[in-house]
């Protein structure tokens, strides 16, 4: 039986570190090793940063939901900031680094499974999974 934890976060940059610390504590109590905890922390933080940087009005918050299963931690970052064209995302090029576009790349590199659902005019949901034994 999985346990669920949901946090409602104001869309301000200063709360991203609060989410980071909360998720890190959760991953620690779930038995992940230090490297995996760090991966989860960075990935969730990147997902929150995406919300904060790309659209959420200060008054509108977003949600972070965590599902703690027997062998996995599933984290969803859900916003209602209007969505974006997921297919239009361009991978960063190592020889021509740019200031933006690294967040999604980092999330995909650090988590075991990543799904991004975005509906233009509505919002975005980034679902990330990390397994305890991999």
């Amino acid at each position: 039986m999985a346990d669920f934890l949901k946090i409602s976060v104001p869309g301000k940059p200063e709360y991203v570190s609060t989410v980071r610390m909360t998720v890190s504590a959760l991953a620690n109590s779930a038995g992940f090793d230090i490297e995996a905890i760090e991966d989860i922390k960075v990935a969730v933080s990147e997902a929150c940063t995406n919300v904060v940087r790309h659209g959420v009005e200060e008054l509108n918050g977003y949600e972070v939901s965590c599902e703690l299963g027997d062998d996995r931690l599933v984290i969803c970052v859900i916003d209602h900031a209007g969505g974006y064209d997921v297919a239009g995302y361009k991978m960063p090029e190592p020889d021509h680094p740019k200031e933006g576009g690294l967040g999604i790349f980092i999330i995909r590199a650090l988590m075991d499974e990543v799904d991004i659902f975005s509906e233009i005019g509505s919002g975005t949901r980034i679902q990330m999974v990390k397994y305890t034994h991999r």
Partner: protein, 108 residues
Amino acid sequence: MALQMKHDFSQEAGVWKVRVSGEVDVATAGGLRGLLADLFQEKQSDIVLDMSDLSYIDSTGLGVLIGAYGRMQESGHGIRVEHPRENIAKLLRITSLDRIFCAAEQTE
């Protein structure tokens, strides 16, 4: 945890030395962006970032380094990262930014 930055110009090495501690994220990256721009404006030379006490950096912080590096490169200067902790070294590796910012350490 907030971000703290200390800097001085090393006459001997001819570079800016910046020691960053704490966390660089979407809330604190602006401070780093401002400092790097100010230092480079004051004296155009390479910038060495000592990350011994930096516990966290994200894509916003890396973006700041990329942006500053891009502007400095036009006049032949660059940024070097020293002593990153393992979690930060991993992030630099997966983004291939170690090729730009840690080149000197790798060839030592």
